[in-house]
């Protein structure tokens, strides 16, 4: 489903030297598989996700989705790819303030559908995510866990084949974070969606099929450790 081939991203830095944010990353993720990229802040996780999402051009290497190199798409093709084939879950504070749950969730559907039709289409998904009784509540009246579920609904509304999640539990407490991760894993298996989850929260590794560690832009298989050993800091 997703294949990264020797992906490299350099950023220019002061003094003429460049920072290697992502340094030769290769990875394959199958449909229905959930892969977690674990690493500290500044390790290159978000840069990697932005390159997969075609929002950032790699310095070298390729991003293949279903065998197609999406890193060389035109602006219009990349937009179409993000709209139809990709779901991108950001942190929960990215919701449009003052706008209702249902209207926040349908944003991706507005390209092709009328507002009412988009509302009808996204409602079952929101109900499935436990937001059936919160459809018309404004974003700022929702709990952090509910907001994150709205983001998941928006990302899944176009039935993408690849889901990227950037710190989906970053602003959630342990209980809410666990719920969101369980939900992601369940949906991933059920709908055959490939999920790349980026986090510096060790709890995320419990729910992933494979875990990788990203440090200084280099990817390595994460050494499995008992879940009980993780020190989960309360939010």
């Amino acid at each position: 489903m997703l294949e990264l081939r020797e992906l490299v991203k350099h950023y220019p830095a002061v003094g003429g030297e460049s920072v290697r944010a992502v340094d030769g990353v290769s990875l394959e993720v199958e449909a229905g598989e959930m892969v977690a990229l674990y690493g500290p802040s500044g390790s290159g996780k978000t840069t990697l996700l932005l390159m997969i999402a075609t929002l950032l051009a790699p310095t070298s290497g390729a991003v293949l989705i279903g065998g197609r190199d999406v890193s060389s798409l035109s602006e219009r093709e990349a937009s179409a790819f993000r709209l139809t084939e990709l779901g991108f879950i950001r942190q929960s504070f990215d919701l449009l303030p003052g706008v209702s749950t249902i209207d926040n969730a349908l944003l991706k559907l507005l390209k092709a559908k009328r507002w009412r039709a988009a509302q009808r289409e996204v409602t079952p998904l929101l109900e499935r995510l436990g937001l059936g009784d919160r459809l018309h509540h404004r974003a700022e009246t929702l709990s952090m866990g509910e907001r994150q579920r709205v983001m998941i609904a928006r990302a899944l509304s176009t039935r993408p084949s690849l889901l990227l999640a950037d710190e989906p539990t970053g602003s959630l407490d342990t209980q809410r974070g666990r719920e969101v991760l369980e939900l992601l894993r369940g949906l991933c298996r059920e709908q055959g969606v490939a999920v790349v989850l980026v986090s510096h929260d060790p709890m995320a590794s419990r729910y992933a099929d494979r875990i990788y560690s990203l440090r200084d832009g280099r990817l390595s298989r994460y050494r499995a450790e008992p879940v009980a050993d993780f020190q989960v800091a309360p939010v």
Binding site: A53, L55, E75, R76, S79, A80, F81, R82, L83, T84, L86, F88, R90, D94, L96, P97, G98, V99, S100, D103, L107, K108, L110, K111, R114, W115, A118, R138, R154
Partner: protein
Amino acid sequence: MKPSNVLRLYRVRLRARWAQECLAIIGIAAGVALLFASQVSSTSLQGSVDQLTHGIEGDAKLQLLSRDPHGFAQSTLARVRSVSGVRAAAPILEAGASAHGPRGSASVELIGADESLASLHGSLVSNRSLAPFGGIGAVVLPAPLANKLGVVRFGQEVTLQLAGQTVQAPLYQVLGRRQIGALTASPVVLAPLSYAQEVTGLRGRVTRILVQPAPGAQARVRAALTRIAAGHINVESSDYDEQMFTRAAAVSNQSTALFSAISALVGFLFAFNAMLLTVPARRRLIADLRRDGYTPATVLTVMLLDAIGLGAIGCVLGLAL
């Protein structure tokens, strides 16, 4: 994105940030109002002078103009009319006066003319022959001035203070917008030439003679008029008063332009500060739309609608103010 969805998206977002949007609209409206007001005050003065001048001179292209308020001999008119190429010539006597009535008073321009002024087709007299009241001492007033003075009925007297004397002049007629158009706003008192000469103490004198040359004869007529003037009277184009006013108002126009620029700047700063409040929300929306797969053109459309909505409402409100 479908246009209806762009509008709906604008509407749902507007509900969430109406306070900031209102501030931005008020800022734009204030700027537009200041700018518009300063421009109007400038153009309305120039416009009034233009209207009055054109209303009197009509088709005249040249004029003999007195160099002092005492004018020059009316006998000059016969010499002007005898010039080859002169189609029409009309004598005028103008004098500043103060008009008083039962309801109020006003500074006015007394204009004495005879029936030949109508041949120039100026809007002030084009629909009104001066002949019927030529032999009597009576005046014609524009409606707003008549109302201000409280002199509106035929025969009612208006008091004119001019040339060191006070005279009572009966009202002959009030002219409305239907008859003289925008000239009703001009503070003029129209009187027969002979009566104007009598009340001003300038018997047999006029302050200007308007001349309409035949087509193609303007240069020849101007040369002949210069000879008649013999260095004692000015020969000018008929829009001389407008030119003089424009020159005199140049300094005022400069200050108006400066005030307009300051007004525009103040309005811009108002709007800019208010818009700054909404920048984080707009930036977040742009990022959301781009990450969710909307093209830059779609994002631009959404932002343009924001700008057009704000600009249009702000401008309409500013003009209304």
